[in-house]
């Protein structure tokens, strides 16, 4: 029972990451009709926003270490601590939440620049061309990041107060032994908040309503005198912000390196396809579903029956869904039919 509960949590957690990435991907699909293989690279850029924030905040100066008296010892002390003392160390400790403040404008700019600079020219080209050019862009972004930050993963720890585990078992009466890392809980909550924010933006604001109308019938909305293209560009920027936040928040769980985006990209494409191309609800549902399935498949009891199932479950589900429900779980008619 305990382990099943933990696996569900694990799955929801993984699913939260998949859902966030897939949400941005499918948002771009549904609006611009572009297959964006560089989406994983944007996710990676998001997590490198956190790395940059860490580097900036901990920019240090060599100071003589007074506690060691046997020899001349120096230690690195961040300027922030020198200037502001405890407040400075507090800010450094909370670098991951703070880096969201950096990530939002940066990701928005990157998204807008990408859409205006490159994607725009590919609206009317075949999907194969879109896949290929964004694939090339992903390689370029990766390599630039690699040449700046190096090839090794860079750890960015979560704030100390949430570094441990929550005794989640005692909250719901499963006993003290059931614990779960705090940060993963926060990640899940964050994913839910971001997802609901995106949905409420699309459902409850006039701007979002127009965007949804444009997804249904772009031409008619254009005929009504609305510059739908500009709104779609903004949506592209928004998708970048969503996936960027997903990247920032993921850094304490997985130390970012330059090719993390590619690993997530393949998975999130599978998520989008399972959910149905262009369907936002589908992407979220499929993300959580595949996450939970994956973590259940990783249980020893199941692995002993089907060896290796944990490695392939996601792809297997994708193949089955694509063959039985060609539009995915919640795909709309007429979107990417061929």
């Amino acid at each position: 029972m305990d382990s099943i509960f933990l696996q569900i949590l694990n799955g929801l957690d993984k699913g939260g990451a998949y859902a966030l990435i897939a949400l941005g991907l499918t948002l771009v699909f549904g609006t611009l009709g572009v297959v964006n293989f560089a989406h994983g690279a944007i996710f990676m850029l998001g997590s490198f926003c956190a790395v940059t924030t860490q580097n900036l905040l901990t920019y240090s100066k060599k100071v003589k270490d007074e506690s060691i008296t046997y020899f001349e010892a120096f230690k690195e002390v961040p300027y922030l601590e020198i200037w502001w003392g405890d407040t400075g160390s507090f800010i450094i400790d909370y670098k991951v939440p703070f880096s969201i403040l950096l990530a939002i404008p940066v990701m928005l700019l990157i998204g807008l620049a990408m859409e205006r600079g490159l994607i725009r020219h590919f609206y009317n080209r075949p999907h194969a061309d879109q896949i290929l050019v964004t694939f090339g862009l992903a390689i370029v972004i990766q390599e630039i990041v690699k040449s700046i930050y190096g090839a090794n993963p860079i750890p960015v720890p979560a704030p100390a107060i949430v570094a441990g585990s929550a005794s989640i078992g005692s909250w719901i009466g499963l006993g003290e032994s059931v614990v779960y890392p705090w940060w993963r809980l926060i990640y899940l909550a964050n994913a839910l908040v971001v997802i609901s924010a995106v949905f409420s933006f699309l459902k409850f604001t006039t701007y979002g309503m127009v965007v949804r109308a444009g997804m249904q019938d772009r031409e008619t909305v254009g005929l009504l005198g609305i510059d739908i293209q500009r709104r779609f560009t903004v949506v592209f920027g928004m998708a970048s912000v969503v996936v960027g936040i997903a990247g920032v928040m993921y850094t304490p769980i997985l130390s970012p390196d330059y090719h993390m985006g590619m690993d997530f990209l393949v998975l999130s494409f599978v998520v989008v396809v399972v959910g149905g191309m262009g369907s936002l609800e589908g992407a979220v549902v499929a993300g959580f579903m595949l996450g939970v399935l994956q973590s259940f498949a990783a249980m020893n009891e199941i692995k002993s029956i089907f060896p290796g199932i944990d490695q392939i479950i996601v792809y297997l589900v994708a193949v089955i869904i694509l063959l039985t429900r060609p539009r995915g779980l919640m795909g709309r008619k007429g979107v990417m039919e061929d």
């Binding site: 999907h127 194969a128 390599e143 040449s147 393949v266 490695q311 392939i312 792809y315 694509l322 990417m336």
Partner: protein, 377 residues
């Protein structure tokens, strides 16, 4: 270019064979005339030509083609381990097994087209890659990769030859398959593979494939069942990849799962696009260029660059090195990605497509000016 007579075909093949076989000579000025690289040219040429049969003719973009490369390699190494160090059975096994794999994957994936097909093949590739790393370790030897061992079975070899000291080498009836003989073996297979691709392209079968690319729906309406054609194209293309994989194992008897990773599949797509999709020579050219530049660019470092630009004044020299060094050495992938984007954006037909376009324009101009002259005189 579109339709060539039988005689022209043979003439072209003869020319092609001469060019390929003389590669060790005419590549000397480029600094590429050593066996390791030449073998790679031939092997990846086969891979790209095969990929082009699927992507170039039918327009189905497979993002998991490296699976067949990996399967071919594994099958070949197992043939070395179990039966004989002779390369002929290894190549046959490689092609056979990748053909079977292609049949299975194609049967499922070809039910869908467009982006879904790409993602299905990608899913299969990731599945195979993950399995090769985890559960199938007894067959694939996991992360270490499948290698030859001293005490392998080698049933057939055991009947004829005493096992010698050290690891046996791959051979073709006694000719060792490393260095130049290995290259010539690959080159002969490349010529055969290319000839087959040429025949396929100009056959009614190839015509059907091209028709599928231009409008599959209409083909269906005219009562034409496209499935068997797509299946055959997918299998042929998979077998080409298997052949390439087997040859990789022939020249270096080692097979690792990273050969199946989707970045490897991406690489063959790059080769085909760079050279020119759907053209005959394009994929070959692309494969050669990418392997060549991979070799040259990644060997450059700052010191070498300094030397190259040593004729410039110091300041300019440092500037040039500063500009270029991020793009060479470890940064080679950056160059590749950038080049690839430029090709897709400005030259969707690839290099060969670009040359053809320029040539046509030039001919048109000449034709037009000749007409003008005819009018004035």
């Amino acid at each position: 270019m579109d339709t060539i007579s039988r005689k022209g075909e043979l003439r072209m093949m003869a020319l092609f064979a001469v060019i390929v076989l003389l590669m060790p000579i005419w590549l000397i000025p480029f600094g590429a005339a050593y066996p390791d690289l030449l073998q790679k040219f031939a092997i990846f040429g086969i891979f790209a030509v095969g990929f082009n049969i699927l992507f170039g003719l039918t327009g189905y973009l497979s993002f998991g083609h490296a699976v067949f490369l990996g399967v071919g390699s594994y099958a070949a190494v197992w043939s070395f381990k179990l039966f004989t160090m002779n390369v002929i059975p290894a190549v046959i096994f490689g092609v056979l097994f990748s053909g079977i794999f292609a049949a299975v994957i194609g049967f499922v994936s070809l039910r869908r087209s467009g982006i879904y097909f790409s993602i299905l093949t990608l899913a299969f590739a990731q599945m195979s890659y993950n399995l090769a790393y985890s559960v199938l370790t007894p067959i694939t030897n996991g992360e270490t990769g499948l290698q030859l061992r001293l005490h392998d079975l080698r049933m057939i070899d055991g009947l004829f030859i005493e096992a010698g000291e050290g690891l046996p080498l791959t051979n073709l009836f006694g000719i060792k398959m490393s260095g130049y003989p290995g290259f010539y073996f690959c080159a002969v297979l490349l010529i055969l593979a290319f000839y087959l691709a040429l025949r396929i392209k100009n056959s009614p079968f190839g015509m059907a494939l091209k028709a599928i690319k231009s409008n599959q729906l209409r083909m269906g309406y005219t009562g034409f069942n496209t499935r068997p054609y797509l299946m055959s194209a997918f299998m042929i293309s998979g077998m080409y990849a298997g052949l390439a994989g087997a040859l990789l194992a022939v020249t270096d008897p080692l097979a690792g799962a990273e050969r199946m990773q989707w970045t490897a599949s991406g690489e063959v797509v790059l080769m085909t696009i760079l050279g020119g999709v759907g053209t005959l020579f394009g994929p070959l050219l692309g494969a050669g260029l990418i392997k060549y530049f991979e070799n040259i660019f990644s060997s450059y470092n700052d010191a070498l660059l300094q030397e190259t630009f040593s004729f410039l004044p110091d300041m300019l020299n440092n500037l040039m090195v500063g500009i270029i060094s991020p793009f060479v050495g470890d940064g080679w992938h950056l160059t590749l990605g950038g080049l690839f984007m430029v090709i897709i954006i400005f030259l969707p037909g690839g290099i060969v497509g670009g040359i053809t376009m320029v040539w046509r324009r030039y001919m048109k101009k000449r034709g037009a000016s000749a007409e003008m002259e005819g009018e004035t005189s």
